[in-house]
């Protein structure tokens, strides 16, 4: 009896000790590790060769997914996306008996993934990646309490994060979107021949460039069943002046000839050109990052939100590209020059070098706004600071939908898309966003 009492006391003591020593879950830490990495990666994307908008969206999606998966064991009640995404069935799990420090895990995962996803980043950016990883514990002392970070915990956390990053990259490398500057990809894309015919896309002035990433639509998307979101198709090609197709071209022409100052500003604000900005997906990731910071989100929340939004945006590009190259519709500049104004060119920007329907900006923005609405509410006003450094911000929006609709309409104002591509694209994007929200984590 006495021995039994002693044993009970002994076990109770062990239990207390474990409870006291149990690592806090990821929700107890701030989102700072995640937001600091995204704040660095977004400008890095801007300056990294090969990070065109579809590629950048994939980069952000893998980063977000990796962040989430590396910490899923530290988020009680949540489970992995593995098993729900195409060809991703399982990932290495954290050892149950090895306490991990989740900000350290996140830091290691994001550092490893960033280097693997941006291998072409200029040397100064590579140095910044190293510096951010190294300095994070000093820069974020509230999340990197030395009492929680014994040498052993640091080592375990870093190795778990890197292992997860490697496992995720073994999957990502086979999606068709890896190594876009590699000789294999260049050869593949160079061998693409655009279908010809009435209403078919042709290279556009002034550069008459080859089509961008013509095989991107054959990439493996993250989610299953994206085809269910496909748009209905543009109006039938028709050069008859009163036809629906011609009327849409008329609209593009009319607006471009006499744009309002507001329309000009909107067109430039949402252009999000690669090389000059973090691209459209980066723009929305910037908005999310500011929201996470403003609202003092925790690390677990940030991880799930980056993952869902990244998946939605990347898949929006894959789905868009698949439809674009299947429909292969000509751009407004081609039609307008052919049908009624031989000298017309879009006055604000060059026409992107890929088919018209649907509008990538519209699909992208529709997807992002649908996800953000679910996170923060339908009628939530917010401040967009993406272009503050260019002197264009901050810009306030009354809702995420309003921002997405403005982003979509910007392509009409810019003279590079017809209305159907914009409206159908926004609907397609919102459908894709809702599918990302439908992935189960609980």
């Amino acid at each position: 009896m006495i021995a039994r009492v002693f044993l009970v006391l002994l076990l109770a003591g062990v239990g207390r000790s474990y409870a006291q020593g149990a690592p806090p879950d990821a929700g107890r830490y701030s989102a700072a590790v995640a937001t600091e990495w995204f704040r660095l990666v977004l400008p890095a994307i801007q300056q990294t060769p090969g990070q065109s908008p579809p590629v950048a969206a994939r980069t952000l999606a893998v980063l977000g997914l990796g962040l989430y998966e590396s910490m899923v064991a530290g988020m009680p009640g949540r489970h992995s996306f593995a098993g729900q995404l195409n060809e991703l069935e399982s990932l290495p799990e954290a050892q149950p008996d090895e306490p991990l420090h989740w900000p350290t895990v996140a830091n290691a995962t994001l550092a490893a993934l960033t280097r693997m996803l941006l291998p072409n980043a200029p040397a100064d950016w590579m140095a910044r990646f190293d510096a951010l990883e190294r300095n994070m514990p000093v820069a974020q002392p509230a999340d990197f309490n030395p009492a929680e970070r014994t040498a052993e915990v640091i080592i375990r956390s870093e190795t778990h994060g890197r292992l997860l990053a490697m496992a995720l990259m073994t999957w990502a490398r086979t999606d068709g979107g890896h190594d876009v500057l590699g000789s294999r990809r260049v050869r593949l894309d160079a061998s693409y021949v655009s279908p010809s015919g009435l209403g078919a896309w042709v290279p556009t002035p002034p550069r008459f460039a080859r089509p961008l990433l013509p095989n991107w639509g054959t990439n493996r998307p993250f989610m299953k069943g994206l085809e269910k979101c496909d748009p209905p198709g543009p109006p039938r090609y028709d050069e008859t002046p009163a036809s629906p197709f011609h009327r849409e071209a008329d609209e593009v022409h009319r607006i471009s000839v006499h744009p309002t100052e507001e329309q000009r500003r909107i067109a430039l604000y949402w252009a999000d050109d690669p090389g000059k900005t973090p691209t459209p997906a980066g723009h929305w990731a910037w908005i999310l990052t500011d929201l996470l910071r403003d609202r003092k989100a925790d690390l677990a929340t940030a991880a799930e939100r980056y993952a869902r939004m990244g998946i939605a945006m990347s898949d929006a590009f894959v789905a868009t590209w698949r439809v674009k190259y299947a429909v292969n519709l000509l751009r407004p500049v081609t039609f307008i020059q052919l049908a009624f104004d031989a000298n017309w060119v879009p006055p604000l920007m060059e026409t992107p070098a890929f088919p018209e329907y649907p509008s990538g900006h519209s699909v992208q923005s529709g997807a992002a706004s649908a996800v953000l609405e679910a996170f923060y509410g339908r009628d939530t006003a917010f401040e967009d600071r993406t272009h503050n450094d260019r002197g264009w911000g901050p810009k306030r929006f009354k809702s995420f939908r309003a921002a997405a609709e403005e982003a979509a309409a910007s392509r009409l104002y810019a003279g590079i898309h017809f209305r159907s591509a914009i409206e159908h694209g926004t609907a397609q994007g919102r459908c894709i966003g809702s599918r990302a929200l439908g992935l189960s984590t609980r």
Binding site: L163, A167, T174, G182
Partner: protein, 534 residues
Amino acid sequence: MLWVGLAILPNLAASVALSAPAVPRFVDETDAAGIQSRFDGDWEYTVGGGVAAFDCDGSGLPSLFIAGGANRSKFYRNRSARGGALKFVTERAGLELTSTLGAYPIDIDGDGVTDLVVLRVGETLLMRGLGDCRFERANERWAFQGGNQWTTAFAAAWLGDEARPTLAFGTYIDRSRQDFPWGNCTDNQLVRPAPGAGVAFTAPRPLKPGHCALGMLFSDWNRSGAPALRVANDREYYKGGQEQLWHIAPGSEPRLYTEAEGWKPLQIWGMGIATTDLDGSGYPAYYLTSMADNKLQVLAHGSAQPEYRDVAFARGVTAHRPFAGGDVHPSTAWHAQFADANNDGWPDLFVVKGNVGNMPDFAMLDPSNLLLGGPDGKYIESATEAGLVNYQRGRGGLLVDLNGDGLLDALIVNRWDRAKIWRNVGAGSAAAPKGMGHWLQVRLRQEGGNRDAVGAWLEVEAGGRVQRREQVIGGGHASGALGFLHVGLGDATTARVRVLWPGARPGDAALTSPWFEASADRSYVLDRRQGLVP
């Protein structure tokens, strides 16, 4: 009350000490034994590096074939004295081959002389045993098409009533796509025996999809009497791949087990497979090696469906990082094998480890594991205490009795370094080896094409429980042995032995031998006609 509690503690400690497995001592005899092999080469030799052990001269002691990668492979005839130091002599046996990755011994033609399947970068070779450790190429003689692939895994089984084996070959990456290996795994190959009395094979049939196989094993997972084919696949390069289990039956198209049948998708860096009846249930468990993600799988809901749960953590065999040497990075595990290294009657686990090459995020000092099992089902890491220390880039390996003393010796093939061999001296020393528990070794024999009774289950009853060994060809990582099945007996000095011959289900009296009485510390042949013969 406190003093009562404190008084209990020593007893608890004693209890723990009593349950700790006895640690065998291994002595590195690489130089003295005359082993001079290196597994060298670049990209195409990142995997492989196997060894085969087999008795080719009737001495009862296994000789060795060690793959060389870019070097020539070597054959070593076993000249060890029984119970003495390990001694091997390099001989020209016809096995001095280029581009070798590994090998498995198998008696393909049923003549009682062991043949050898040699896995290569390039053509796979079937080497026919001629006796007295001489071999000749037999691809043409047996109508075997060896292809020109990067062949990295092998398993064989005699299916149904077939007199000749069905051969399964695992392949890795398309050799023409080295510029972008990801997503370019090649199909595996299934080679069936051709109809007729002679030894001949049909053209290889693809096992689609292939997912860069690094381990294969025919094993009777549900004790149905018919084996299925497990394939360990390397997630590093496949697209949409996973671990696989195939239905392979005579006269039927191969078919993957599906989720509807209970198979659960699992993606790991699959490198090797080991099997044992872990808990006396009569069903095999499987240890799958990976990069810091090793799994020990047991049936989750009985034998009705191949749904497995991972008990690696519960059993203490995650082996996910180095246990010694100070390197803190994740481990890379390759060959794995269950065997009783200390003869205590509980299976131990040997895991050969080593960095792929110079991968900075994985351990460079990655010692191989010797995990000693005990009656509580837990495993204790003991390689350092045992002296079985290998910090090189281990690949293939074996635990096998090389000097006939009933103690399993060890061999590891290292990439970019020498292969190493250790003599197990039990509780003694090199000068004075001393046995640990008792043991028994049984070689199965039967008439017909399947002379070694591949697919049979040996059962040994001793100390009030039954241990089982499945006679398999395949598994591990590019390494295999054929010969005596070794069973540790612990304190038992006698045992009862029987065999469920190939095709038998538990309880199938027609295919099950009677129980035979056996004395410990001896090697026997259990012949289907003659019974147990010393």
